[in-house]
């Protein structure tokens, strides 16, 4: 959409749906022996990323014969991390890619951002999986209101001043989860705007770039000081 249509999209999105809640993540975990045993029973060799505590699995080719269906075991393990989350089917991002990706949904919203997904790379020599699905605490923090749509629109306008006629914007409302290299405390409803140049060029001459504008969608004064959202703007 064009930038001038973003305000209307925001107003429509905010008026059409109930306020999605905010969730707290559990503290990053380390491995426990019982958990290791349950993995080994499935033939998976797991580890936890030392920054975020999210799960990583690596299987080398000599171990392929140890288990029959590694992909469904990995999905099952992801489900155990956050049982209240829906895991979408594994899909290849494009033809011939070595990767398989399964995105997730929380409260009927997609989980967006680098995290919130299972990423599997399968080659002849190994299988590696990043299960960037953080465990949520029970319960939820209600959102008090939407962030003022006009304020979000103005922040976009000021960031792309001078480019208004040159860009297209793709807008999504979802829960934003960071990569496995971060400790994250809150899972918040978030607006993700992907900005690309309108002129995509030709096959021989292209100068397409892509950037984002990421802002929280709702607020609750109790949680505001705990997340540094400004860094994404």
């Amino acid at each position: 959409m064009r930038i001038e249509n973003v305000r209307e999209w925001l107003l429509k999105t905010c008026s059409e749906r109930e306020l999605p809640p905010i969730f707290s993540f559990e503290r990053p975990r380390t491995f426990e022996e019982a958990e290791t045993a349950s993995f080994l029973e499935r033939g998976l060799r797991p580890s936890r990323q030392n920054l975020s505590g999210t799960l990583e699995v690596r299987v080398v080719s000599t171990e392929f014969a140890l288990f029959r269906d590694p992909l469904s075991s990995i999905v099952e393990v992801a489900h155990q991390e956050d049982p209240r989350r829906a895991i979408l089917p594994l899909q290849r991002p494009h033809e011939g890619s070595q990767f398989l990706v399964a995105h997730t949904r929380v409260e009927s919203l997609p989980v967006i951002g680098p995290g919130g997904k299972i990423l599997i790379q399968r080659s002849e020599s190994s299988l590696t999986a990043d299960i960037t699905v953080r465990r949520r605490q029970l319960g939820a923090i209600p959102s008090e209101n939407w962030i003022e749509p006009d304020a979000i629109y103005r922040s976009l306008l000021s960031e792309f001043a001078g480019y208004e006629d040159a860009i297209d914007i793709e807008a999504t409302l979802g829960y934003f989860e960071r990569s496995k290299y971060h400790v994250q405390y809150l899972l918040r409803p978030t607006f993700l705007f992907v900005i690309r140049p309108r002129d995509q060029g030709t096959a021989e001459s292209r100068s397409v770039w892509e950037t984002t504008h990421i802002v929280p969608a709702t607020w609750n004064p109790a949680v505001e000081p705990t997340e540094q959202w400004e860094i994404f703007r």
Binding site: H103, Q121, L192, E204, R206, S207, E210, T212, F232
Partner: protein, 339 residues
């Protein structure tokens, strides 16, 4: 004195822990031999640096053997002491071997460059927006690798990044050159945006002693279609570059996604991880939009050589014996890709 099967199994596990993996020191083994009765070494001692899954499987193995009560401890004491003596010798030999095969830091030098601010006047029809995050990916990459004793040999940015030739004269014999800026395709030729001009790579930029791995953290850095292959085939023929890491189409540049610099470095220092896979995983695991399509392209004088480059590891680059040689200037470049 013959040992029963359980005693032999106990010794075999101990040998693996102490001699093969070095989780138990010779001193630990001697202490174990002095114990009054059969012991699970995981209860009696604290094996160092053992991964949780391995600890679990060994511990379970010892527990099972001890629960059957077939182990005659007086029969095992002498073999355990002999094992401790063998472990002492093995420790000395390993230290000597490690000194001789230690990767050479001078072969793992890296160089980084980025451009985040562009002069409007250098292109009337298209002026690329500022990339405030362009510094993040190369800086995070270098920061992570500095911890691995991989020295940063050259850095250049913004108006100081005039390419060619200044940075290339400084980056001779570099393992990895990482550049982040805007990229475009102009008449099927790749060009990277610098502060006030576009840079189109050519063989003269790299030479035979330049970087082995070229990371183009830019849009349109690589493509698997014939026109683009022709371009890179010409631009890199006879040069040092044996692995090209880039993205097909746009690569998202924002705060979360530029963590790929850190992720890439963190991946390549993992055991048995190829540099190609490290890049592919880094981009896919940090992209905030999920639309970036990373690609790794191996280059060689033959198709087999090009394929081998997709398995190149950071350890290979640091080893004088395994470091790939430059491409021949007389043979057309062959490609192999993974994406």
């Amino acid at each position: 004195m013959s040992l029963n099967p359980d005693e032999e199994a106990y010794l075999r596990l101990l040998r693996e822990l102490g001699l093969s993996h070095m989780y138990l020191s010779p001193h630990d083994l001697k202490r174990l031999a002095l114990a009054p009765q059969p012991q699970n070494p995981f209860h009696a001692l604290s094996p160092a640096n053992i991964e949780s899954e391995r600890r679990f499987s060994y511990c379970k193995g010892f527990d099972q053997l001890l629960s059957r009560k077939q182990i005659r401890w007086e029969h095992l004491r002498k073999p355990i002491i002999a094992l401790a003596e063998m472990a002492s010798v093995a420790e000395i030999l390993r230290e000597e071997a490690a000194d001789k095969t230690e990767p050479l830091p001078e072969l793992s030098k890296i160089a980084i460059a980025y451009s985040g601010y562009f002069q409007r006047r250098f292109s009337k029809s298209f002026f690329p927006p500022a990339l405030e995050c362009a510094r993040r990916a190369p800086a995070l990459f270098a920061g992570r690798l500095l911890k691995e004793n991989a020295p940063l040999a050259a850095i250049s940015a913004d108006e100081w990044l005039t390419m060619p030739p200044s940075i290339f004269t400084a980056i001779q014999d570099i393992a990895i050159f990482y550049v982040c800026t805007h990229g475009r395709i102009q008449q099927s030729q790749y060009q990277a945006a610098l502060h006030d001009r576009y840079w189109q790579p050519s063989p003269a930029d790299f030479g035979a002693n330049g970087p082995k791995v070229l990371v183009l953290d830019t849009c349109h850095g690589a493509d698997r279609t014939p026109p683009f292959r022709n371009f890179w085939g010409t631009a890199l023929q006879g040069t040092s570059v044996r692995l090209l890491l880039a993205c097909e189409g746009p690569i998202v540049i924002d705060t979360p996604s530029t963590e790929r610099g850190y992720a890439f470095a963190d991946n390549i220092v993992q055991e048995n991880t190829s540099i190609a896979d490290a890049w592919l995983r880094a981009v896919r695991s940090t992209s905030s939009t999920g639309t970036s399509r990373p690609v790794a392209i191996g280059l060689g004088d033959t198709a087999a050589e090009a394929t081998t480059m997709l398995s190149l590891t950071f350890h290979d680059l640091r080893s004088a014996a395994k470091r790939p040689s430059p491409l021949s200037p007389r043979v057309p470049v062959q490609f192999a890709d993974r994406h």
